[in-house]
């Protein structure tokens, strides 16, 4: 096994339905989480809609995969960020977003909500610091 840990950043830029990007991105993130790399997920532009509460897809005949984001913690993804400007531009705040809990099974350390709203300076830092960036 390779000991090299890379920093992966997944950018989610698109609305959850209408295209397959959001669902595919989530699957890639969950599958990639098996490789014990340092994973960050950032939602920006229309991608912030992916985390909104109370989604109902019954009218469009697509699976509502919104609940699946809450498993990110179980998959040991601990860094979930949302771009503050993208939220504000859409009249949204953190209160409109789902919460994702995280727990370290061994140490029983718990974080109630790992979703963090960050400003554009942090977004830039995050991109700079990442070794691999996937944009969806």
């Amino acid at each position: 096994m390779s000991e090299i840990v890379k920093k992966f950043l997944y950018l989610n830029r698109k609305a959850p339905y209408g295209t397959i990007y959001a669902w595919e991105a989530l699957e890639v993130i969950l599958i990639g989480a098996a490789f014990d790399q340092e994973v960050s997920v950032l939602f920006l532009d229309d991608g912030v809609y992916q985390l909104t509460k109370g989604q109902d897809t019954s009218g469009i005949g697509m699976k509502n995969f919104s609940p699946t984001f809450r498993t990110l913690g179980d998959y040991e993804v601990k860094n979930v960020y949302v771009d503050r400007d993208s939220l504000a531009a859409r009249g949204l705040t953190q209160d409109d977003l789902v919460q994702i809990a995280w727990e370290d099974f061994d140490t029983e350390e718990e974080v109630e909500n790992i979703v963090e709203v960050i400003d554009s300076a942090r977004v830039r830092e995050l991109m700079d610091a990442s070794d691999v960036v996937f944009s969806f």
């Binding site: 599958i31 098996a34 699976k63 609940p67 498993t71 179980d74």
Partner: protein
């Protein structure tokens, strides 16, 4: 090739790896038939995990990968069950893959 399994006289479609083609077709008989094909006799312990997986899917809309399943079972049922030795003793072909199949869920996400 469209495969089916016979559950109490009802033909239920499965995919090429033996997972249910349609999640809503599941009934306990599905697990009975699939386990018989795998030469496993289902005990209460097996059913606990199958039920757990169905609840997990209900809540998160996803079939968990094995290490996520192990962790989640441990959280819910205690560490004596939340370990791979115990889960493999029940489901020798892989607790996530085999148990998910019995539970009528898709192949787990993140099983590589």
């Amino acid at each position: 090739m469209a495969d089916t399994i016979d559950v109490n006289g009802k033909q239920i479609a499965v995919d090429e790896e033996g997972y249910l083609a349609n999640l809503n077709d599941w009934e306990p008989g599905v697990a009975e038939v699939m386990s018989k094909q795998d030469n496993i006799e289902l005990t209460d312990e097996h059913w606990d995990i199958i039920k757990f997986l169905r609840e997990y899917y209900e809540e998160y809309q996803i079939a968990p990968a094995v290490r996520v399943l192990t962790k989640a079972v441990g959280k819910k049922m205690g560490k004596d069950k939340g370990n791979s030795k115990y889960l493999y003793s029940l489901f020798p072909y892989g607790p996530a893959k085999q148990a998910c199949r019995f539970a009528g869920l898709p192949k787990p996400t993140g099983c590589v």
